[in-house]
């Protein structure tokens, strides 16, 4: 039995690591999305975290934990720096500005050979990241998100998401709330970048571009932005999907696309909304509403 487990782990540990890592990034985005910040800065934040932490371990000889912290901190600082101007922008304009940030970071990484190695990247990075590091990070983030969501802070954020005029008028400092979430998102993505860098021996600028940022957004969205477990489910699903469909060879891309489309169409509230589907003909939450409106009329 234990032989079986160790064999399983030896064969699949990287998949497990990637699931956790992507979940972590997914939660970073989840926080941003919860205040309607459709951020494409993820790639940039991860790059900051990754390069900074690798510099710390490989050049400065830092131990692992402080190096990860330094990476996360740098990303958080980056978020704070661009946050002030960028948070004034609405919707798609915000999206473009954060994307511009990611692109600028990527181009710098491509050109700053002495630190980043340019396109060739940095290899032979010591492998420090263990599965339990990732699991712990995800657990901490889930705890924080869970606790905050049910507090007045969470309510304020929900108001900011839907109508910032209302939120302001109720005394919510909209800017500070969004900024702190953006910084938190930067911190988490930076930490994820640092952990990723010490997972696979190698980093290069190609790891942190637009694709990375868009993928990171799809985790919480596909999982369901209204459910706390959404990013976890979304990340695991998207990470496992290419592995699970490996048998299909050339048709893999097509099948993968079709599966995602099917999920979105059948669960338009995200994968987590499967729990709101009609079980036994009644929709969860529906009875309550019907009862309440009935009362209202009597």
């Amino acid at each position: 039995m234990s032989a079986w487990i160790s064999q399983f782990f030896a064969s699949y540990s990287n998949i497990i690591d990637l699931c956790l890592l992507n979940s972590l990034v997914g939660y970073g985005l989840f926080l941003a999305l919860s205040a309607n910040m459709f951020s494409l800065a993820t790639g940039g934040f991860m790059a900051l975290g990754a390069y900074c932490s690798v510099y710390c371990t490989m050049e400065l000889g830092f131990p692992f934990a402080p190096a990860v912290f330094a990476g996360a901190l740098l990303a958080a600082l980056g978020a704070a720096a661009i946050g002030a101007p960028v948070l004034r922008l609405r919707g798609d304009y915000f999206m473009l500005a954060t994307f511009a940030f990611t692109e600028v970071i990527r181009v710098i990484a491509l050109n700053w050979d002495s630190v980043t190695g340019g396109a060739i990247g940095i290899f032979s990075i010591p492998r420090h990241t263990e599965t339990w590091h990732l699991a712990l990070a995800v657990a901490v983030v889930i705890y924080v998100a869970y606790t905050l969501r049910r507090s007045y802070f969470g309510r304020a954020i929900a108001a900011v998401k839907q109508d910032d005029v209302v939120a302001q008028s109720m005394g919510v400092n909209v800017f500070m709330h969004r900024l702190s979430l953006f910084i938190a998102s930067g911190f988490i993505c930076g930490a994820a970048g640092a952990l990723a860098a010490h997972l696979n021996y190698f980093i290069g600028p190609g790891d942190f571009g637009l694709v990375r940022s868009v993928d990171a957004l799809t985790y919480p969205i596909l999982g369901g932005v209204n459910a706390l477990a959404g990013p976890l489910i979304g990340a695991i699903f998207t990470t496992l999907l290419p592995e699970a469909l490996r048998f299909s060879n050339q048709l893999r891309e097509i099948l993968m696309g079709a599966l995602v489309v099917a999920i979105v169409l059948y669960l338009p509230g995200g994968a987590m909304s499967v729990f709101k589907l009609r079980w036994f003909g009644v929709r969860a939450g529906e009875t309550k509403l019907a009862a309440a409106t009935e009362q209202a009329q009597s």
Partner: protein, 354 residues
């Protein structure tokens, strides 16, 4: 009864331009495996190719390596397609003691990852100096311009090799331009290069990019007297097709080319065309060679029960008859081939007449 020898083939067949190279190598490798199995030259051993598509994504490459090593118990891994994937995944194989033979990674540092890592693709540094020497002898250029893909590991390292070679040949670099993956318009860079009026133009790009750069360069009026040189990776049948007549005179170096005159090569090209109804390129040829290297080593090592022995046998590969003459590994597990200089003429690469 037969003893299977599992060979992992990690090549991208989907997900972007990597698929172009991955597919070719997968084809070449599978062709070789079938040939060897039907020839019966390995006796009781039967090669079993296990292809896995990593979509050019190195997270997936690592996943695949783990599974191939621990679950499929492969004897050797061919690939992966991209150098970035190699840097992430090869250390796993090195640690587990499973030999890896790359047939498209031409970046520097690949074989430095450990003594289980080999490649059959000659690195740019082995090929380009010969090409430049030829051009220098023939045209005695004084100035050069460079253009390369800055976000591509392969091209970035090719650029460094080109630059070093130009400097050591005392050719002055008058313009250095870059482009990125997915760019289709190079006119801004080429206009700048045209203004610098170089004697030669060195392109660090993949086949399709190179084809377009060549075509646009001529269209913008960079004269035929400016000789255009390319990187090893630019050798593809696509080049002539996309660039048309403008590609005439385009000069490259390669460890292999399709018209290479040897019975082994003729048979390879023939078999490849028959099976895939298209022409092989040098990546297909190198993957094909890789499989023959493995088969040879299996024979000499007397099986695959001891991978250390297999590794040693691979490292000892010497003068194996291959489709580009005879094949050997040098002490650094790099291919010891004599590169040839090829010139495009009328839509075909021909061996440069010295």
């Amino acid at each position: 009864s037969e003893t299977p020898v599992n060979i992992g083939i990690v090549q991208a067949t989907s997900g972007g331009s990597a698929a172009l190279y991955g597919l070719m190598q997968k084809n070449g490798a599978e062709l070789a495996i079938d040939e060897i199995n039907t020839s019966g030259k390995l006796g009781d051993y039967k090669l079993v190719g296990i292809h896995q598509d990593d979509a050019g994504d190195r997270g997936q490459s690592v996943n695949i390596f783990q599974r191939l090593i621990n679950q499929e118990k492969v004897a050797v891994i061919l690939g992966p397609t991209l150098a970035t994937s190699a840097f992430a995944a090869d250390p796993l194989a090195q640690k587990a003691g499973v030999p890896v033979i790359a047939s498209s990674n031409t970046a520097p540092g690949i074989t430095d990852m450990g003594d289980y890592i080999f490649r059959t693709s000659p690195p740019e540094s082995m090929v380009f100096p010969g090409v430049l020497a030829y051009v220098k002898k023939k045209y005695s250029p004084k100035t050069a311009a460079q253009i390369y893909g800055i976000d591509d590991t392969l091209m970035k390292s090719a650029y460094a090799v080109h630059k070093k070679a130009l400097e050591s040949e005392d050719i002055k670099i008058v313009a250095t331009e870059t482009f990125q993956k997915g760019d289709v318009d190079y006119s801004a860079q080429l206009t700048k290069i045209k203004a610098a009026n170089p004697d030669i133009l060195v392109i660090g790009g993949l086949a399709e990019e190179t084809a377009n750069i060549v075509r646009q360069a001529r269209q913008l009026g960079i004269p035929p007297s400016t000789v255009i040189l390319g990187a090893n990776a630019a050798i593809s049948n696509k080049l002539a097709e996309l660039a048309g007549a403008t590609a005439d005179g385009f000069t490259v170096g390669s460890g292999w080319f399709i018209q290479y005159d040897s019975p082994k090569n003729k048979a390879f090209v023939e078999a490849y065309r028959k099976r895939y109804s298209s022409d092989p390129d040098n990546f297909a040829a190198q993957a094909y060679t890789s499989v023959y290297v493995v088969a040879d080593a299996v024979k000499r090592a007397g099986g695959v029960s001891d991978l250390k022995k297999l590794r040693d046998a691979i490292a000892a590969t010497k003068d194996l008859e291959a489709n580009n003459g005879s094949f050997s590994f040098d002490a650094h597990r790099e291919p010891a081939v004599t590169p040839k200089v090829l010139v495009m003429k009328g839509g075909k690469f021909i061996l440069a007449a010295d």
